[in-house]
Amino acid sequence: MFKADMADANIFIGSLIFVEELAQKVKAVVEVEKDRLDAILVFPSMPEVMRLNKLGTFDMSQLGQSKKSSIFKVLKKNGKGPNFEENMLKIVRTLPKLLKLLPLDRAQDARRYVMSLQFWLGGSSSNLENFLKMIAGAYVPALQKTNIPFDDPVNFLDVGIWHPMAPRMFDDVGEYLNWYGTRKDVNEKLKSPDSPTIGLICQRSHIVTGDDGHYVAVVMEMEARGARVVPIFSGGLDYSSPVQRFFCDPGTKKPLVQSVVSLTGFALVGGPASQDHPRAVSALRSLGVPYLVALPLVFQSTEDWLESTLGLHPVQVALQVALPELDGGLEPIIFSGRDSRTGKSHALHKRVEQLCTRAIRWAELKRKTKAEKKLAITVFSFPPDKGNVGTAAYLDVFASIFSVLRELKNDGYNVDGLPDTAEGLIEDVIHDKEAKFNSPDLNIAYRMPVREYEMLTPYAKALEENWGKAPGSLNSDGQNLLIYGKQYGNVFIGVQPTFGYEGDPMRLLFAKSASPHHGFAAYYTFLEKIFGADALLHFGTHGSLEFMPGKQVGMSDVCYPDSLIGNIPNVYYYAANNPSEATIAKRRSYANTISYLTPPAENAGLYKGLKQLSELISSYQSLKDTGRGEQIVSSIISTAKQCNLDKDVDLPEEGVELTNEERDNIVGKVYGKIMEIESRLLPCGLHVIGEPPTAMEAVATLVNIAALDRPDDGIYSLPTILAESIGRNMEEIYRNSNNGVLEDVELSREITDVCRAAITAFVEETTNSKGQVVNVFDSLGALFAIPKKAPWVAVVQKTQFASASRDKMRTLFEFLGECLKQVVANNEVGSLMDALEGKYVEPGPGGDPIRNPKVLPTGKNIHALDPQSIPTVAAMQCAKTVVDRLLERQKAENGGAYPETIALVLWGTDNIKTYGESLAQVLWLLGVEPRPDALGRVNKVEPVPLEELGRPRVDVVVNCSGVFRDLFINQMNLLDRAVKMVAELNEPADMNFVRKHALEQAEKLGVTVRDAATRIFSNASGSYSANISLAVENSSWESEQQLQEMYLKRKSFAFDSDTPGTGMKEKREVFEMALATADATFQNLDSSEISLTDVSHYFDSDPTKLVQSLRTDKKQVSSYIADTTTANAQVRTLSETVRLDARTKMLNPKWYEGMLRSGYEGVREIEKRLTNTMGWSATSGQVDNWVYEEANSTFIADEAMQKRLLETNPNSFRKLVQTFLEANGRGYWETSEENLEKLRQLYAEVEDKIEGIDRT
């Protein structure tokens, strides 16, 4: 249609074309007509479109070609100088005057271009009319003879304050408020400075063109709700100065507003073009109020959006949701649509109400006193069991709540009746954790009669479809809905109800998720309407509110997360290492996420047999030449066998003669394994909010930070520096060490030891006698100023690495000093208080503090990253290494043949932390490379020629997690385009497995090759996970086949790049066909603190057994896990990884003792590991019998341990016992009848104890 329109057009005008895909299309169409067209005018857009400009002799075809060139360069690095926007406007204003003086034709054309820009930015209908008159008169041949008179551009204020009722625009906030005070149409209360005042940020173009209906709606809604407004606008893309100028009192510099709502949808600085987040953050920080960024629909009609399960169009999500988040923007609420008839913006009335009430509620937090403020703390219970109340990743929840409440109390909040200890708190909420009394229920805080519930919950009717009439059976006593929790003064601690269908195998099978149940809705109704919370604090990672059905992003009136959260400001303590799910909480439940630290990591260390092995190895090294070598090696072999290392290392039979070399090799390999276990990082114990780690606890983390090269920052890793000092290359040492070369295993160990010692010495120097960091700056300053021996130099000098580069070490330790300060910073409670007082919470990236120390200090509003920036070049580089290792390994185990298909999983967090490594892995398997556009955004891929690739293109089946789908829909688009492109390449089938399979599938299904090349799958929109995790956690499954059916039903929704706006479509047939071709399954571990059995989502997404059952030959397929969390990246088999994980965590005294220090929560953590281990048995069958056997010896056979677990958390202990019995019953664990008898007996005992039956 555009083409047809262009064919007979005289003039083309374009503006703000910043989306690459669109730019390409526009360029293609307009370019053809360029010579024929009388004039082409393109205002700020992508350079390729800008180059189309043609106005007589004036053109821009050279734009951006030479490196010196102008606008584009400015766009790319704005913000470096003073305000780039203002400068540009200044030029626009003065240039015509200058150019007027030049009589040349060329200058006339240039002048007309600049005047056009003025007309365009002036925007009003009279300006546009005059603009067209000028251009037509000057350039359309038919009109050139007739002299068309036109007026000069009328300039409106570029920046100022606007109000629909005001007679003019203001460029001074004092004048504006004076006028406001004289308004006769509103009452005194609204005009008084005591009423809540909301700053609104508008786009100037909407105001001058009169397309301001949606803005007017917001102004009216705010004022009708009793809030004063200060609506500001700017014609430029940089709002950082206007925000400071108009939202603060010019005299006192104090903010005049209590919250700010941007109605533009754009990042504060840079709009769609090029953002400057630090500049935005600094402006918002100095303003210091909550900052909401609402959205107008841009690429969709209102109906498109309503009908889309996706919600907001992916392109807009990338531009107007992800980017404002980097500024610390909250609450992406869509408030306006576009009338398809007039093209004008119109309010979405209910959304406007939601936005305005929420903005006012945030503002109220700034106005209310602490003593009167009501806070509702919500804890979670996953899976639903009393032993699980207060679940959150890495967090000792009740101790944290206790610590937070104590601080709040000191700060003036009313927390009357708070018990003296955290245990007392647990007792109050869950009534009786030791179950000495008969108390199957939690403490009931409120009974809500059904009538009240229905009256206060407008959407209650809609829940009946899934759950029948209220009250139903969940959180209900048959007449009332029950709210569990406990109130202290103005603080309520409540337990979030669970999904409610965990135990229902039929519901778990549904392709889409069920709505919340009545009890769930009643809980949030209670908080908002009965308790009257001023703010809600969700405590820890994570609950289920934000995972309720609805659109992915851009909630509508009928999306459950939006309805449930109602109008309460939502603050959410979230683990810093989980930016992806934090982002879901931000977007779907409007949370201000405040990051908390994962517990300080320690090295796993060695214990029991593993420790003996390590001792034997060191005696082998000192005694191997004395003739005792043979004897020691034989002990090593037998001990290794006892430790079940025979699966990891090829151990010879006893009595086999070995050469010296073979002995060294065996010892080297065992040593390598031992070292791998020993140096694994594990988070010890659970974090307590408000209790940062001590400096010494931070050592292991620092050692790992120091182990990574950071070439971009000019920082070398300590191992690299040390290896260099003896003329070795660290990469090579790692490689040899992996292969069991004894000397290099030993060298690697020495390097590790020196690193630890040097960093320990450094940390000691900066801490006081209590082990706390006193003043890193002072001590560091002293350290760096005085040329005497720095502590790390002192350590290094005593070793073979004495000549290590002093300069490089100094740079590194300066960096480490900065990191140390951030690790031990204590901002988590402070940031919460800021949020509760209606202040701005500074944003910060989420991720792995080791890879990206910018994650620290915690206590920041977590954001993800610009989704279009990934994969980065560095990520692509790492991905190639991992893919090559993966293919190598699979070839080695598969008779030298390349795998035809690999089924893999993409996680949101993983891709954020690694800047898209696993995304890049998929691309590299396919043999394609990303091509970033001129602004550095990745929207295009190109195939690498086969001769260059040197191997076949490997087919993929990509299972995107629901979170990945929500965050990276553009990347799913990119991947799908890559797959389709590769399938359509004219290449031989044996060198292009994608094409090979797609051709077969196309024939079988009777579709085109392009349609058959469907490989990018996920859940239905608004649904998350395969639900296998829920089934396993709740033991609510019969057979493995049932789990596999869940996977197929819930994960078979494909993304189609040919219809990107429509969302996910079910394509189960091709999903099954594609999976059936897989030779291997593959996943990535994203950081050291989350491993396979720490969380349930890894096994939830594992299709290993499923692939086997789908394959025609029923062959067992290989399964791999990549681990790029350490400098020495690894691709291990799944079973190796499960063993490593069991050894470092569940079976490691250091780990479980650390957990048990947290008491109640600790028992649950142990039980969770066992349950997740069984999950792996169920989905992959890759768990060895000895893992269960050892776990049983550790936790059950050990009488003292068993008693301790039972006493501390009987509910979790019951689940532990039950899981052991279940593992046996399902055939995953074979053990003695004696063991089983003991378990059965324990089960009966604990059951009685919990039910309160005393048999004695």
């Binding site: 149409d185 709606a217 009708a224 009793g226 009908e307 004008k344 119109h346 109400e353």
Partner: protein, 266 residues
């Protein structure tokens, strides 16, 4: 407070109806037991009466009036002849457009310049003129259209605009998903006829392009308070006394049915 207000309003209109004169009802306010609170909660009404405080004669119930008898009263000297003739000729679409024009004129010069009404201007609109417009619509539609008709519907849905829009047909279910509603496209999808299928209150349209505050304030205008009288009938229809206006009112005062959730912050 809201409940109190609704009762107070009802007593007020009762008096209004009985006496047929506004000045009487104004006098009566002073005798209401809760007069102080009432004044606080009705700032717009009080102001309007002060502004347009001259005496007027009101035509009583619309049903009893034949179209030709409608008195085209205006405090601002505005002519309603055009609206009347459009309505009389069944030119619903044009009448709707004329009504929107008139409402802007009623809101004053600034609104005319602006081309739309800001919600806070509604309070200054004269009762007489609004009632004239309403009366014209009701009379020509057999009581199906008009602001007072819409007011009743809005009260029945407790001020929930989405529910109101569904009832009067300004929103329609999505074709693909009948749980969700979208705005009916103007003017093509509106029902420009007085057919049995046209929902009650469908016209005149106060669009939601700029949100719902204008509509809410318009329907809350004292000009249409009289419409609340009819609201009570269905709620007490089970009682034999219900025909007795005084009796039913007493009952209403004793047990207000439901608190109204309309936002009265102005």
């Amino acid at each position: 407070m809201a409940a109190l207000r609704s009762c107070a309003l009802k007593s007020l209109e009762g008096l209004h109806q009985v006496n047929g004169r506004l000045d009487s009802s104004r006098k009566s306010i002073a005798f209401l037991p809760n007069n102080i609170r009432l004044c606080c909660s009705l700032p717009e009404a009080a102001r309007v009466w002060n502004l347009h405080g001259k005496q007027r004669i009101h035509v009583s119930a619309a049903s009893a009036t034949s179209p030709s008898q409608v008195v085209l009263e205006s405090d601002l000297g505005i002519s309603y002849d055009k609206l009347q003739s459009l309505l009389a000729n069944g030119e619903w679409e044009l009448a709707d457009e004329e009504t929107r024009r008139l409402i802007i004129v009623l809101a004053g010069e600034n609104a005319v310049k602006r081309k739309y009404v800001f919600f806070s201007e509604v309070q200054f609109m004269p009762i007489a003129d609004l009632q004239t417009i309403d009366r014209l619509w009701r009379t020509h539609s057999n009581g199906k259209f008009g602001y007072s008709v819409q007011r009743k519907i809005m009260k029945r849905v407790d001020g929930d605009c989405t529910a109101f829009f569904k009832k009067v047909g300004w929103m329609k279910p999505l074709e693909s998903d009948d749980m969700q509603y979208t705005y009916r496209s103007f003017p093509t999808e509106f029902m420009w006829e007085l057919a049995p299928s046209t929902p009650e209150g469908h016209l005149p349209l106060t669009n939601a392009l700029r949100g719902t505050q204008l509509l809410k304030n318009l329907l809350d205008h004292p000009a249409f308070v009289f419409a609340d009288e009819d609201l009570r009938v269905p709620s007490v229809s089970s009682t034999p006394d219900s025909l007795n206006g005084v009796g039913s009112r007493t009952q209403q005062q004793q047990e207000p049915k439901k608190p109204l959730s309309i936002n009265y912050s102005f």
